[in-house]
Subunit: 192 residues, 2 copies
């Protein structure tokens, strides 16, 4: 295994503030498949915690029911592998809560790395981020936006913008599930 | 862009024959999100065609409705990017149909590369597969199984078994959407 020490990488999936198709700031609904796919991914790549962030109480309850079914309910017995993955999920109101928890756990402030399909200021490449994670001297919070992605305001406040994924065409409209998968593999996957 | 010539890579998502949790051979239901996520992925990485394979007529009709909504229906106007991606989808009965179409189009027999979370016979590594795709002297059909994955019988008949994805933990229970995303990026993504 590549990492002799655990990574200090955390994920956050933001449902607010994110953009709709028109670029307006909205709160997106929880999507069950995002929670499952990204939790399984996080478990596979040794991510410390996967924060699902929404300020809406009913959406927090929905996310809680999904997670609870697989961690405590019938799903936990049916599929213990899924339980392991979904146990990484923490449902929180906003990023401030998330950052406070990481600070408490790690004794250090997390650097926020925002993701986008477009280039931004303070770009961070995959090789540089890999090195930083290998060094593990500081926690990182990698943030994904649902719907049409993170808002410009949010990205402005992030410490870094991860370089967008380029395939080998001009098209780059990946789902957040696909983007998270590719990014985690680039950052933490074993290289041949 | 990395490829000066187009790749000769095709994808197939099999709904039959695949395994259920008990390892029995079943026909899995179409999952809308698989079609969307993998079509967007295929478009991003320049895959020639994405075959959705099921022998069930009602499931073919369901897949056809999903694709039609985004390629000819209201979705095509609402989201032209999605139309571009879903236009890569071909719904077919079985792998024989798929192979015959590729043969007709390419004038050569496609090599079948099966995917699995476990190791198998005739393993193919990512570096070797990248080289073969770069050479582009032969079409390749990369096959993913839905539900609990491709059957041992199917894998026995494939030309190659792609090496399973290892994260950096012992856990590797990824969704087919995540696995396809990681594999396409490893095979065709631009490397730093």
């Amino acid at each position: 295994l590549r990492h002799s020490h655990p990574t200090k990488l955390y994920l956050a999936l933001l449902h607010h503030p994110v953009k709709n198709k028109a670029g307006e700031q909205i709160t997106a609904a929880i999507t069950s498949i995002d929670l499952h796919d990204i939790a399984r991914l996080a478990k596979t790549y040794g991510v410390v915690g996967f924060y699902v962030v929404t300020p809406l109480i009913d959406q927090q309850e929905l996310a809680g029911k999904i997670v609870g079914h697989w961690t405590d309910g019938a799903g936990a017995t049916y599929n213990p592998d899924r339980k392991e993955a979904l146990s990484l999920i923490y449902i929180r109101d906003d990023l401030e809560q998330v950052l406070a928890e990481i600070r408490h756990r790690e004794g250090a402030e997390a650097r926020i790395v925002a993701t986008s399909a477009s280039n931004g200021r303070r770009p961070l490449g995959y090789r540089g981020f890999r090195k930083a994670l290998d060094a593990a001297d500081q926690p990182y919070l990698l943030v994904f936006g649902t719907a049409w992605g993170l808002t410009p305001d949010f990205m402005e406040k992030a410490d870094f913008m991860l370089e967008p994924i380029k395939g080998n065409t001009g098209y780059n409209h990946l789902s957040v599930r696909s983007a998270a998968s590719i990014i985690l593999d680039r950052l933490l996957g074993q290289r041949e």
